[in-house]
Symmetry: D2
Subunit: 326 residues, 4 copies
């Protein structure tokens, strides 16, 4: 029946997105509005009702799907009452550094492992990551710990390589509007963690997600990691109000990155607790066995010990609202 | 002994601020540094040690006073483990509106009553407040409920009038750098709630507080109420990281205003909970018996019912970190 | 006749602002709109037509007065084809410093002299200005050079003192929304230079001017001095597009302050030339005989020599658009 | 001799960039600093002196090359006393639309033709450009008018296609930190117009250019097109101070895009004149035969007539500083 409707919608020159919920199935028909379409579709027996989606982001909108989406892979669950915790070093630097980090964050309750193998760096002369060697180390760490690997993809040409090793493909803030990259991860069929650009509006953010959803990939996590403002005492300004604001508009889960959002290790634990209190669906936190020796982002990385304490606090806050952390 | 040292400091052409803590007494000597001064002071028997304060804000600095300051008047306690809650309408509009609000916020656990009698309005043609009549209504509401009255002062010329009715003098965001007003409230001897200007840096904010402290008034509450950024989906961008950042630098309590910080009623309760989780010392929330009829700020005002629910959640989050709310 | 209409408008409970142009006289009737009013006024013989002003700023709006306002006092003319140039030190520091500056800027073609006697300073411990002594020096410099004195007023309590010495009262950026101060200068009957607050929107800026105009003072100059953004390489970000944007909406003249707008002396001359090219009605520039020794704003102050060269370039650019500079 | 030094530098594990100026030849040796290197190089007979480059952007820095770079292709000259003018529609829409635009801007004095064939659009549902058909129309317009074609490249996979048709490859603001794309255009050997990201700092902007220069491509134009701030009355805030600021630090030419920088057609001509007065090396302006019917950016596009008038004014301002426009 869904297939029949899909075909009919496509015959009308529209694109059909099938969204199967627990209560009802929605088929989003995206394309230019024409006269008579609504009536034609409504006249089909299988159709309960036809509702125009007012938001510019169609498939991402709560109007299209009322229930929250839970993105999950391995033990990592983000959304729908689960607060996923992705932790690990900024960059993969060595086998030892990565495994030590992975074991520590796993022990503290994380379910995802972050680590950059291809690093977008402001300067061409800065450390650019271990590349494929880094990916191999991430895969090895997953094999040992069971943590889902979350790592950044920088360009469409790397898609085959990344898909081989990663569980979640991360789109960095600098690439939020790199539309060919969004389409490539949309086609790749892996969960995507999409970071908000530092000066992106909410509509721009949701429309970037829509580029991915529009390719048929519905496993998208929105990551708020701070915006660029006149404030310089923190690396970015982290607006936690994004969480409830986005949750009112989209069914996609919203994750907070307090490490980039503040840039200062001592501010990360209180902001992580606040993120849980405001209702976030996940956290992404930089942890390094020895932050003072990190090749990147040392100032904002937690030690394993501080991370474990942070997790304790966050678990208490989460439980007070009936959510599970990690 | 303190008196003797104070005199000696003043004889050296410096200004002395006496700060009596539970563990030790600090006398801040503020003025231009001259050779030999440190040695002279250190040679006094009563002096344990002389420490230069590096921060530009001297009296506000944690270097001067390590313990947190608790600002308190009537039952309102802000800081030092107490989360003060100030709630009420944006503007005082009528006796009924104010009393209904006061009773409701008192019942839900607030210990301070907000309400503008002199309103700084963007347009000269907008409602400017009930002025002295509004102050009288506030005082009457305090008499009935015991709530401490927090209300804005707009100009030094109003100081005598305001002191007669208010328990806490509020300096609005527009006046954060109105230095003559800061000095006037510094001299008035009443607790002051100082709102951060929408584009003030942390140093500017703390130095504005220093203008008040420098007049000998140490009862100052810092209020973060959001900054102006490119974001327009919320009225302001509310950076909760200000709370731990400020608390690391100053002993003054830090209060969050999620109403102005978001401008959207549905975002106020989650942001209030997040503020408590991040470690704030107080909350200031707009509550109106009928927000749709409010003469100002209706869109961001909570109904008494939603406010009471918000208080429940905040109390749970507060207790998980051993703090008392309201 | 104008008097008669004014009286009639006031009898209707409205406020009347009489604006006498070269082509027609406008009486702005400000107050709450009521049924029948427009018809009543239109029926008067003396009334040509009654037009509702849509802009929130009524008297400042081009809808109320189509011709540009020229603010002028002594030889200083700002607006209506005249580009007024106000130059001088940030703070009045000494008789010699001020007179040297005044003579130099006069020689280079300035018609106004700036110099702060009461200085709003971020820190209570910074140099606060020479106060009345500074005002006296400014008046003496005017007596010698004929330059109009432009100096800042910080609080309503200083109004009598300032009026005695100054030709133009400046409202600083920090006080743009200090409404009691705006009303005080509105009542004082002297030309006012109103600086835009560093995060004020255009509507907030024009409504601040409206507070002054609403008291019957129509001699208001709008000064764009840069806004606070994420950019830190310049002190503020100076948006020259404000000039044509404002000129399309208001008849008030628009002046540019490239000194505060950039904070870097080497950027001041090119930005001054650009300001003239974009169509500004005036310039305000910091000049100091020896910037390296200035008590405030040394980094952005020009030497007299560089100022004179800047004036040469600006004059050429101005003449290409048929305007007179200084 | 240059070859010999280059080899020697590479043997030391460094990368050599040869920069041939009129007065001297510089070989920038980029890589990690090691002890003894400076002495080794200085001891070579052919070497005049070895100077460490302090700026993080090495090849882009004025320290490396004192003379301004002039980027030129066909009749388009940007930098070194030439103000290049690139004009045309936002998107290529049809043959007629493009040719009408091209003829008009050529007649008014432009030397470059802009026009998007691959359009980065905020929404996946918006017009995405004519793609290769658009490129063919651009090439045809160049064949007729002689204007250099400037068009955007969105992804490394398009490089072969773009190189076939375009004279200058444009990197859009959204892709300023798409490093693989920067490297791809660095390798392509065509002039590049690099737009500043809407929240990029000056260092980030110059380091993005450095990614291109580091691949051996020295024909890079920096384009300031406005930054994202709290201001919403213009589409972006256009900081003209970027021009002299950048010119003090880099030898690369700096071009202004007043169309995106303001988003409002009536503000484009005054801001273009101001850009010339501030010393820019080029202008990029959207012109459409009928802005009201444009498929994108209609509100900020000039009619051919207004563009021609704007060119007149800009020519006058340019000549007053001894520069040639177009």
């Amino acid at each position: 029946m869904v297939e029949r409707m899909t075909r009919r919608i496509e015959e009308m020159g529209l694109k059909a997105h099938v969204i199967i919920g627990t209560e009802r199935t929605v088929i989003a028909a995206v394309g230019d509005k024409r006269d008579g379409e609504q009536e034609t579709l409504e006249s089909c027996d299988e159709v309960d009702k036809v509702v125009p989606i007012l938001a510019p982001y169609k498939v991402a909108s709560r109007e299209t799907r009322a229930e929250p989406t839970c993105v999950n892979t391995l033990d990592l669950k983000i959304g729908g009452g689960h607060i996923g915790v992705i932790a690990g070093p900024c960059s993969v630097e060595s086998e030892e550094q990565l495994l030590t980090s992975a074991r520590a964050v796993k022990a503290a309750g994380a379910t995802g492992l972050r680590g950059g193998a291809f690093k977008p760096r402001t300067s061409p002369y800065a450390f650019q990551g271990l590349k494929e060697d880094g990916l191999k180390l991430l895969a090895a760490a997953r094999d040992e710990t069971g943590l889902a690997v979350v790592t950044e993809i920088m360009t469409p040409g790397h898609i085959d390589l990344l898909v081989k090793y990663a569980d979640v493909l991360q789109i960095g803030a600098r690439n939020m509007q790199n539309y060919h990259l969004l389409q490539a991860v949309g086609d790749a069929g892996k969960p995507v963690l999409l970071k908000r650009g530092p000066s992106a509006t909410m509509d721009e953010f949701l429309l970037a997600a829509e580029y991915i959803l529009d390719r048929g990939n519905s496993q998208v996590v929105l990551c708020e990691r701070g915006v660029r403002t006149f404030e310089t005492h923190t690396r970015f300004t982290l607006p936690l109000a994004s969480v409830p604001y986005l949750q009112q508009r989209t069914h996609l889960p919203v994750l907070i990155d307090p490490s980039h959002g503040t840039g200062i290790a001592s501010l990360v634990p209180p902001m992580a607790a606040a993120a849980v209190a405001v209702g976030c669906d996940g956290l992404m936190v930089e942890v390094h066995p020895d932050p003072s020796k990190a090749l990147s982002d040392g100032a904002q990385s937690l030690t394993p010990k501080v991370f474990a304490e942070m997790m304790e606090t966050c678990r208490t806050v989460a439980s007070s609202s009936g959510k599970r952390l990690g």
